[in-house]
């Protein structure tokens, strides 16, 4: 240790001129306010602002210079033998010089910063809006990075060795490797995990750079090129080890199956047995994964897309899935991919670039796809040829909810619903209805709806002929059955809130109502069907044959609304369905599920595929 300090003292004794320069510069912020043109500004603001800029600029600049010169200059001027001809270890030389450089930086920063800071502490806080320790940590961290990188680059480039070309190539390789490590985590919405991984990589890099000087001098000693060779070997081998470990970690993180999830959300279409399963993975912080999951067979396909319920969809025939894949979870734009679940086919890049806030739907047969962006630009594509068939700009789409579906392969119906989000107060809501003829490339405004509400729900019957508009005002709700194309009123009746009102396959309305004793009643077609006691209950899905699945926090009920009978009740079973009326899905159409289709339910951390009529459950996976 005494040798480390001897080296540090020696280097510091050499830097008197640097300290004097810092002291002289520290006067500058106090002189500057006297300069004509600057006098107009507040004295303390000028002093604190200029003082901070000079202190930070000088410190960072000096850090780079010291980094480049602290070893590199002695090597290139052949003076390193002065140290190596004495009983000094390579570590003592390196850490002595490093400590001297850090002390130099700290002293210069203090000399430059504090006089101006003390002249106007309040002004400083106002100007920079930073806590002092945070500011010191940022400047200190940046200075250390510049110092260590300066040393590495100084050693590499001062050696004048052709090995520099290899270093540059390896730098590029390391950057690509880091991108390859981070990118899959970005795709998995793992912001916290990325922060942790990035911090760990950075800390490992800093440790490598802190240690590399000692290794370099121990193996390169007084020879300039051998120093470069030793430094490069240490840095690249250490970094390669770190990157391989990080790469293996990332590979482990992304290699998840549905059973590796600890939270599960299922988005289950009415057609087919394939569902979207999305959730946060176990032991992987906030890493999320999206799967296509077959409730019949338990097979799964990993999708590198974003959350199913706002950026992916299944065609009505259940055969084609479209999903948005973003380069990272913060990206605003990505590309649409399609996949045929259950087939051996890979995901197909449609090369359709869309904003993450665009809405897209597949035609019922999955052959076409329509996208509408936030500016109202609507485009229909043919997926097989990856061609845009027609585009049109739909008016008045600012701050609106855009919903659409293929009435037929050549005709799109669009609902522009405003405002975009529920309001705090009861206010007028509107829905404008358009139809876009893809072949004729013509857009027609076919109707509109107006109502007052806090929450507005719009659902269209499976055949696309009738629409239900629920105006939810918290204390009361009104349901209107309208023509889905023109908005013309067909019938109007009092209703319950959005979760307790639904549009049935026959175009009629069903509502759920509870009394003061938590007893629920299903009202439909003039029938009132008591369904039992529960704290919460809402519509989950409609099954073919006039049956409804109702679900609460821990209850599941199946009702035959045609015959007014409760077919099954699973009260207090802690069993919850993932299905619920999607009032805000891009495709507003309701559909009816085949009664034989399994229903995704979860109970005590297990996902089951349940036959809704028989209640038979098949365990799919634990989470």
């Amino acid at each position: 240790m005494s040798h480390v300090l001897a080296i540090a003292r020696r280097d510091l004794a050499e830097r008197t001129s640097v300290f004097i320069a810092a002291a002289v510069l520290a006067v500058l912020p106090f002189v500057l306010p006297a300069v004509p043109g600057v006098r107009a500004f507040s004295y303390t603001d000028v002093v604190t602002t200029v003082g901070a800029i000079v202190a930070i600029g000088f410190t960072l600049g000096l850090a780079l210079v010291l980094g480049v010169t602290m070893i590199g200059r002695d090597l290139s001027e052949k003076r390193m033998s002065f140290y190596f001809s004495k009983p000094l270890s390579a570590s003592a030389i390196w850490f002595g010089k490093l400590i001297a450089a850090i002390v130099t930086l700290v002293v210069c920063f203090v000399v430059l910063f504090f006089p101006s800071y003390l002249a106007g502490t309040t002004s400083w806080q106002r100007s920079w809006n930073l806590e002092l320790p945070v500011a010191f940590a940022i400047v200190g961290g940046a200075a250390l990075v510049l110092l260590l990188f300066g040393h590495v680059f100084g050693t590499m480039f001062r050696s004048k060795s052709p090995l520099v070309a290899l270093d540059v190539a390896l730098m590029a390789g390391a950057a690509l490797a880091i991108a390859a490590i981070i990118r899959p985590l970005l795709e998995g919405f793992a912001g916290d995990l990325i922060t942790r991984v990035a911090f760990t990589l950075f800390a490992a890099l800093m440790l490598i750079l802190l240690a590399c000087g000692a290794w370099q001098l121990a193996h390169g000693r007084a020879d300039r090129r051998q120093n470069h060779y030793a430094l490069s070997r240490f840095v690249w081998v250490s970094l390669a080890i770190v990157l391989v470990v990080a790469g293996l970690f990332t590979a482990w993180v992304v290699n998840v199956s549905p059973s590796d999830l600890k939270t599960v959300n299922v988005s289950q279409p009415e057609e087919g047995s394939w569902s979207f399963v999305f959730g946060q993975a176990k032991h992987r912080m906030d890493y999320h994964a999206l799967f296509l999951y077959d409730l019949a067979s338990g097979k799964s396909m990993r999708l590198h897309g974003i959350r199913s319920w706002f950026s992916s969809g299944l065609s009505r025939d259940g055969r084609t899935v479209a999903y948005l894949q973003l380069p990272d979870y913060r990206a605003m734009e990505g590309e649409l991919y399609t996949v045929q679940p259950g087939t051996s086919g890979e995901s197909v890049d449609t090369q359709i670039a869309v904003s993450r806030y665009s809405e897209f739907v597949l035609s019922d047969d999955g052959a076409r796809l329509a996208v509408i962006d936030g500016n109202g630009l609507l485009t229909a594509y043919e997926l097989a040829s990856k061609k845009a068939l027609a585009s049109v700009r739909v008016p008045n789409t600012a701050r609106t909810m855009r919903r659409l579906f293929f009435v037929s392969p050549e005709l799109l119906r669009i609902y522009i619903q405003s405002p975009q989000f529920p309001t705090m107060k009861v206010a007028e809501h509107g829905v404008d209805i358009y139809e876009f003829d893809v072949r004729a490339r013509s857009l027609a405004h076919t109707g509109q709806l107006r109502t007052d509400a806090k929450h507005l729900g719009l659902a269209v019957s499976a055949d696309g002929k009738r629409a239900l508009m629920v105006a939810d005002r918290d204390s009361s709700a009104t349901a209107r059955i309208v023509d889905a194309r023109t908005g013309q009123l067909i019938a109007e009746a009092p209703a319950e809130g959005l979760m307790h009102t639904t549009l049935l396959a026959d175009g009629s309305i069903a509502t759920l109502k509870k009394d003061a004793s938590m007893q629920w009643t299903l009202n439909t077609g003039g029938k009132q069907i008591p369904v039992g006691k529960s704290t919460q209950l809402f519509f989950a899905r409609e099954l073919a044959g006039g049956r409804l699945v109702l679900n609460g926090a821990s209850n599941l009920v199946v009702v035959d609304y045609v015959h007014g009978a409760v077919l099954r009740t699973d009260f207090d079973s802690a069993m919850t369905s993932f299905s619920y009326p999607q009032w805000y899905a891009a495709d507003p159409r309701r559909s009816v599920a085949d009664a034989s289709q399994p229903l995704a339910v979860h109970q005590k951390g297990v996902l089951y595929a349940m036959q809704p009529l028989s209640g038979e459950k098949k365990e799919m996976f634990r989470f």
Binding site: H3, A13, R79, S81, F82, F84, K86, L88, R221, D223
Partner: protein
């Protein structure tokens, strides 16, 4: 092998390469303790590379080096406590004052003799507050030597210590080395091409040429076996007397030969057997031997 028998330096098959260029080619030498060993060679012969590797400042491409019985690469830090070094180029930081240099060295060596250092500086007439960078080349070498000797080393290594020095500075430097030898019997290993200076103090020499050690032996033995023989006529069949010639060239109307295994009896036999009209045998200085061995081939 006990401590006294261990050579001060033992280099075995050292090779140093810089890319494709071979600076030191399988060099081997042994420096006995208490000796003054001079490694001679022209500029670029590979002396400094050999010294840097011997001192553990640079790694040889291959070969073994032991200094004071220890591997000089592995145990450099420990060894440097026992070795004083004067580098070819004065390598102390130019901003440091002589006093600061002394203080710095005193903090590193347990046996640093401050009084001896001060006494030498006085003899050299160098002020302690002078910055090292402001000293003349000769003064820098003198300060470096004073620092090296103040560490009371068992071995002192001088890498071309008189390079670029005038006659007075050279004499002053060698006087200090001689005094050190007289006082403490320190082993001295020096590289130089200042042959006249070293001839009076060295007791063992090696000559290095093109990276190879071409000659290594006691100086007296070397001088005893090298002779210049000048014949009035030519040619002369020297091999008849089993003389090995280091150099044969025309000398006026006759021949000059430098033989490396001179023997009075053999020469007398040659003179009596051959029809040699006139032959003049003269002893050679170290410089002449060096030129004969290393110089003419260049």
């Amino acid at each position: 092998m006990n401590h006294a028998e261990t050579p001060a330096i033992r280099i075995d098959g050292m090779t140093v390469r810089y890319g494709r260029r071979v600076a030191v080619d399988t060099a081997s030498l042994t420096v006995p303790r208490g000796s003054v060993y001079a490694l001679l060679g022209r500029n670029g012969a590979g002396k400094s590379s050999l010294v840097r590797c011997a001192l553990g400042q640079q790694r040889a491409t291959s070969g073994n080096t032991e200094v004071l019985g220890e591997d000089s690469w592995k145990h450099r830090t420990r060894l440097m406590e026992r070795i004083g070094v004067v580098a070819e180029d004065a390598d102390a930081p130019p901003e440091m004052r002589v006093q600061q240099l002394a203080d710095f060295c005193a903090s590193l060596y347990s046996r640093f003799d401050t009084k001896a250092f001060d006494a030498r500086l006085d003899r050299f007439g160098i002020a302690k507050q002078t910055r090292f960078g402001d000293l003349s080349k000769g003064q820098k070498k003198q300060v470096s030597l004073a620092l090296a000797l103040a560490t009371t080393p068992e071995l002192i290594v001088l890498d071309d210590p008189t390079l670029g020095l005038d006659v007075v500075a050279r004499k002053s430097l060698f006087d200090e080395v001689i005094a050190e030898l007289a006082d403490r019997g320190t082993t001295v290993f020096l590289t130089t091409h200042d042959l006249t200076g070293v001839e009076h103090i060295a007791d063992r020499v090696a000559i290095m040429n093109d990276g190879r050690i071409v000659l290594e032996e006691e100086l007296e033995t070397l001088k005893a076996r090298f002779r210049r023989i000048r014949f009035a006529a030519q040619p002369v069949a020297l091999d008849a007397a089993s003389f090995r010639t280091a150099l044969v060239r025309n000398w006026g109307a006759g021949t000059e030969a430098i033989v490396s295994n001179y023997d009075d009896l053999a020469f007398e036999r040659l003179r009596s057997n051959a029809t040699i009209q006139s032959a003049d045998v003269s002893a050679m200085s170290l410089e002449e031997i060096f030129i004969a061995v290393a110089g003419e081939k260049q």
